[in-house]
C-alpha cells in the first residue's frame, strides 16, 4: 500500500515538477508569476490531441510538434501581453492583470471554438502495468516520469553549461548589467518563454494522455504553482523537488485520509508556506520592485 | 538630553558591513552634516534611523526611546521625518495631495465611522487640512503649483515638495538625504537658505547628508565624516576642512575653502 501510494505520487509529481520548472524559469528572470502559464499547458494538451487523434501523427512527431507549438504560443504570450509592460516598467499588478486576461481569453477561446467536451487521447501506451516492489505502475506513468526527468536534466545542462544558459542565469541576477555586457535582453526573455513553453507542451501532452484534454485543465496547474512555491520560486532544482514532494504528499493524503481533503490540503499548505516559508526550500524571496 | 544618540550602531548584510560601530550625538536644534565618499554608509544610517533596516547591533535613541526595531510608520509618528536621495513623491498625485497625505498623520484626526457618513465636522476638517497644506507649500514657494501633478514639476521643485511633505509630518528631527543633488551652485545656496529658514521657523534638529560642500559648511554646526561604514572623524566645519584624514579620504588634498 505504502509503495503503491508512493509510486502514484511520484508519477503525478513528475508532471508537477515539469510544470513547476516552467513557472520558476519565468519567475527567476522576470520576477513575476505568469498566471497565463496554465493556459499554455492546456493549449499544449490540445495540440497534442490534434496531432495524435486527428492527424494521426506518430507519438515522437506529435511530441515535437507540441513542444514547438507550445513554445511558440508562450513566446507570443510574452510579446503581446507582457513586453510593452516590461519596457515601460509597469508595476507588477499590471503584469498580473495582463496574465489573467490572457488566461481568461485563451481558456474561453477554446471553450467557444472547440467546445467544452473532454477530449480523450488515443491510447499510445498499452494499459498494462509494470510491477515493482509489489506495486503497479502504469507504463504511461513510468514513461512520464522518465521523460520529465530527462527534459529537466537537459534544461539544467543547457542553463548551466551553454553560453545562452549562462546569460539567462546572469539576467536573473541583474538584467541591467547583463545588457551592458552585450546581452540582448529582449531576445533572451523571448528565449526563456520559448523554453518554458516547451516544458508546457511536454506537460500538456502527458497530462492529456494521463487524463484528458479540456479547457479548464489549467486548474491542475495551480498545483504546479504550489509545487514551485514549496521548492522556492526562482529555483529550478527546487521546483523539481517541490513537484515531487507535492505529488507524493497529495497521494498519501488522498489514500490515507480522504481524496476530497486533498485539494484543501494543498491550498492550505500553500497558504502556510507563503506565510512562514515564502522562500520555499531553495528559493530566494525577492522583494518586489517598487 | 540629546535629541538623537547613535550608539555603536552596526549593520551587516551577510558578509558586508555597511555600518560599523557608529556613534555620535545630535543636540537640540543642531544641524549635523554626514559626509563621505559614495558607499560610505551614509544612507544606510538614515535607513537604520527611519526603520527601513533593522540594526544588527547597537542603539538608536531618540529622546529617551529606543528606535531600533520599531516599524517605519511608528518612527515617523515619534517625530522623525526624512527626504529621499532619489525622490519618492506620489508621482501620479498632485502637489497638494502629496502634502495633504503627509498632514493626515498628525493634523487630521477624525474617526472612521464619522467620516463614512460625512458629518459636517468632517467636511470642515477637510477644508482645514487643505488650507494648511497650501500654507506649507507657501513656505517652500510651491503654492502656485498646488494642482499640478507631482511628476510634472522640474527636479529642483520636486525636491522642495519632498521637504514640504516632510515638514507636514511635524517632525522634531528632520533627515535630509542629498537635498541639493543635481543643483547648480546658485540653486544650492538658495536651498541652504531655505533649510536654514525652516529650521528656525519650525525649531527643527537636522541631520544632513550632502556632497555639496558649500551647503554643508554653510549650514552645519558639526560634521560626521564616514568612510567604509565607519566614523572617520567628527568635528566643526573648520576642524574637518583641515583634518588630514578627511582630506585624504574625501575632500582631496587640494581642497581649500576660501
Amino acid at each position: 500500500m505504502f509503495f503503491q501510494t508512493l509510486i502514484t505520487g511520484l508519477a503525478v509529481g513528475g508532471i508537477y515538477a515539469l510544470m513547476a520548472v516552467g513557472y520558476s524559469l519565468v519567475f527567476s528572470i522576470l520576477n513575476f508569476s505568469n498566471f497565463a502559464y496554465a493556459s499554455i499547458i492546456m493549449l499544449g494538451s490540445y495540440i497534442g490531441y490534434y496531432c495524435l487523434a486527428k492527424f494521426g501523427l506518430s507519438f515522437p512527431v506529435a511530441l515535437v510538434v507540441t513542444m514547438l507549438g507550445a513554445g511558440f504560443l508562450c513566446f507570443l504570450n510574452e510579446r503581446i501581453a507582457y513586453s510593452s509592460l516590461r519596457k515601460r516598467k509597469a508595476p507588477s499588478l499590471y503584469f498580473m492583470i495582463s496574465a489573467m486576461g490572457t488566461s481568461i481569453f485563451l481558456e474561453n477561446m477554446v471553450y467557444a471554438t472547440i467546445g467544452s467536451s473532454f477530449m480523450a487521447y488515443p491510447e499510445i501506451f498499452k494499459q498494462k502495468a509494470l510491477h515493482i516492489f509489489n506495486s503497479a505502475i502504469g507504463v504511461l506513468d513510468l514513461f512520464a516520469i522518465i521523460f520529465s526527468f530527462v527534459a529537466i536534466f537537459v534544461l539544467h545542462y543547457f542553463i548551466s553549461a551553454s553560453r545562452t544558459g549562462i546569460a539567462i542565469r546572469a539576467a536573473s541576477y541583474d538584467s541591467l548589467i547583463c545588457q551592458i555586457n552585450g546581452v540582448n535582453l529582449n531576445i533572451l526573455i523571448g528565449l526563456v518563454f520559448v523554453l518554458a513553453g516547451i516544458l508546457a507542451g511536454i506537460s500538456g501532452i502527458f497530462l492529456g494522455m494521463k487524463y484528458m484534454a479540456y479547457p479548464t485543465m489549467g486548474w491542475i496547474t495551480n498545483k504546479a504553482y504550489i509545487a514551485a512555491v514549496i521548492g522556492g520560486l526562482g529555483s529550478l532544482p527546487g521546483a523539481v523537488v517541490g513537484g515531487i514532494i507535492l505529488g507524493v504528499l497529495e497521494s498519501f493524503v488522498s489514500v490515507y485520509i480522504s481524496s476530497i481533503i486533498r485539494d484543501v490540503f494543498s491550498f492550505s499548505l500553500l497558504i502556510l508556506l507563503l506565510l512562514f516559508l515564502p522562500a520555499g526550500l531553495f528559493g530566494r524571496y525577492l522583494e518586489e520592485k517598487v | 538630553m540629546p535629541v538623537l544618540e547613535i550608539k555603536n550602531l552596526t549593520k551587516k548584510f551577510g558578509g558586508i558591513v555597511a555600518c560599523s560601530d557608529l556613534s555620535f550625538l545630535v543636540e537640540k536644534e543642531e544641524t549635523i552634516g554626514v559626509i563621505g565618499p559614495n558607499g560610505a554608509g551614509k544612507t544606510t544610517v538614515f535607513n537604520l534611523i527611519t526603520g527601513v533596516y533593522l540594526p544588527t547591533t547597537g542603539e538608536i535613541i531618540f529622546g529617551d526611546k529606543e528606535m531600533g526595531g520599531k516599524t517605519p510608520d511608528n518612527i515617523v509618528k515619534e517625530g522623525i521625518a526624512r527626504t529621499f536621495q532619489n525622490i519618492r513623491l506620489f508621482k501620479n498625485l498632485t502637489v497638494l495631495e502629496n502634502v495633504i497625505i503627509a498632514l493626515d498623520l498628525k493634523y487630521v484626526q477624525y474617526p472612521l465611522l464619522k467620516c463614512l457618513f460625512r458629518l459636517p465636522e468632517i467636511s470642515r476638517a477637510e477644508k482645514e487640512v487643505r488650507q494648511k497644506a497650501l500654507e506649507l507649500l507657501e513656505v517652500v514657494g510651491l503654492q502656485d503649483k498646488a494642482f499640478h501633478r507631482a511628476d510634472s514639476l522640474p527636479y529642483g521643485l520636486q525636491r522642495k515638495l519632498e521637504i514640504s511633505r516632510a515638514l507636514a509630518l511635524e517632525p522634531t528631527l528632520l533627515l535630509l538625504d542629498e537635498p541639493a543633488a543635481g543643483m547648480n551652485p546658485e540653486e544650492s545656496l538658495e536651498l541652504a537658505g531655505l533649510i536654514r529658514s525652516i529650521k528656525e521657523r519650525f525649531k527643527l534638529t537636522i541631520l544632513l547628508i550632502e556632497h555639496h560642500m558649500d551647503v554643508v559648511m554653510e549650514l552645519c554646526h558639526r560634521i560626521v565624516v564616514m568612510n567604509f561604514g565607519e566614523k572617520l572623524v567628527e568635528g566643526t566645519p573648520e576642524e574637518i576642512q583641515s583634518d588630514p584624514l578627511v582630506l585624504k579620504a574625501y575632500l582631496g588634498e587640494a581642497y581649500k575653502r576660501a
Partner: protein, 296 residues
C-alpha cells in the same frame, strides 16, 4: 417589459455593490484578490440560511451575510497581510483561499453541499437593491475622499513612501479588505434572494477575476469607473444574448488590451464631477481635488 428591465437592473446593481467593495481593495489600496467570489458566496449562503432555515428578517440576514464575510476576511487577512507578502504571492494566497472556501461550502451539511440551496425567497427587488447600492456608493465615496481613503491611495502609489508618511500598511490594508469583504457579502446575500437558488460552483475564481476585470476596466483609483463597468458587464449578456463564452473571451482580451494600451481604464484616477466634465473640454486638466471633486 418594465419588469424584465427591472430584473436586469437589479442584477447589475448587485454586481455594482460587490465591485465597489473590491474597488476599494484593488483600485484604491492596490492589492489583487483572486478569491473574492468566496466572500460573495459566504454572504449568499449566510443570508440564505438565515431566511430559509431560521426565518430571520431579510435585512438582518443581509447584514449578517456581510458581517460573516467581513469576519472571515479578518481571519484570512490577518496572517496574510501581516506577513507583508509581495503582491503576486498574496494574489495566489487569495486564490487558494477562494478555492478552499468553495470546497468547504460543497461539503458542509447546512449548505446542502454541491446540490445547492433552492427555494430562497425573492426579496431582492429592484427598489431594495437600488437603495442599498446607493447607500454603499455613498459610504464608499466618503471613504475615498477622506483621510482613510488617502492612506489607501498612498499605499497603492508607493507603499514604501507611504510608510514614510507614517501610514501603517497592515492596518490600512486589513481595513480595506474588511470593507470589500462586507460589500461582497451584502452583494452575495442580495444575489441569493434574487435568483433564489445558489450552488457553490457559482462562486468560483472566474467570478473573482470578472470582478477584478470590472475594477481594472473601470479604472483603478476611481469609483465611477468601476460602477459603470460593473453595470455594463452585468447588462451585456442580457442585451446581446451572446453565448457566455464569447463574453468571457472578450473580457480576457479587454483586460490585456487595457494593460497594454490604457492601464488607467476608462476613468482611471478620476471621478465623475463637474471638474472632470469640464476637464474633458479644457485643454489642461484643472484641479483634481481630493477633498471635494475627484480622486487623482
Amino acid at each position: 417589459m418594465w419588469y424584465y428591465i427591472q430584473g436586469v437592473m437589479a442584477l447589475a446593481l448587485i454586481n455594482v455593490i460587490s465591485v465597489v467593495g473590491l474597488s476599494i481593495f484593488t483600485g484604491f489600496t492596490g492589492l489583487f484578490s483572486l478569491g473574492h467570489a468566496a466572500f460573495i458566496g459566504l454572504g449568499a449562503y449566510t443570508a440564505a440560511i438565515c431566511t430559509y432555515f431560521y426565518k430571520i428578517n431579510f435585512f438582518v440576514a443581509i447584514i449578517l451575510g456581510g458581517l460573516m464575510s467581513g469576519l472571515v476576511s479578518l481571519i484570512i487577512g490577518f496572517p496574510t497581510l501581516r506577513a507583508k507578502l509581495r503582491s503576486d504571492y498574496f494574489a495566489i494566497a487569495t486564490l487558494g483561499f477562494g478555492e478552499a472556501v468553495r470546497v468547504i461550502l460543497e461539503n458542509l451539511n447546512i449548505t446542502q453541499g454541491a446540490r445547492g440551496l433552492p427555494g430562497i425567497k425573492a426579496y431582492s427587488t429592484f427598489p431594495v437593491v437600488l437603495v442599498i447600492a446607493i447607500i454603499i456608493i455613498f459610504i464608499a465615496r466618503n471613504f475615498v475622499f477622506s483621510k482613510y481613503g488617502r492612506m489607501a491611495i498612498a499605499i497603492r502609489e508607493d507603499f514604501t513612501a507611504a510608510e514614510m508618511m507614517g501610514i501603517n500598511l497592515f492596518r490600512v490594508r486589513l481595513r480595506s479588505l474588511f470593507f470589500s469583504a462586507v460589500c461582497a457579502g451584502i452583494g452575495g446575500g442580495l444575489f441569493a434572494h434574487y435568483i433564489c437558488f445558489i450552488q457553490p460552483n457559482m462562486f468560483t475564481s472566474i467570478q473573482s477575476t470578472l470582478l477584478t476585470a470590472a475594477v481594472v476596466a473601470g479604472g483603478m483609483g476611481s469609483l465611477t469607473g468601476p460602477v459603470l463597468a460593473a453595470l455594463i458587464f452585468a447588462a451585456i449578456p442580457e442585451i446581446l444574448r451572446v453565448a457566455n463564452m464569447w463574453r468571457l473571451v472578450a473580457y480576457g482580451f479587454v483586460l490585456v488590451a487595457i494593460m497594454v494600451f490604457r492601464p488607467q481604464g476608462i476613468f482611471g484616477y478620476k471621478e465623475l464631477s463637474i471638474n472632470t466634465i469640464k476637464g474633458f473640454f479644457k485643454k489642461k486638466d484643472p484641479a483634481s481635488d481630493l477633498t471635494k471633486g475627484g480622486a487623482s
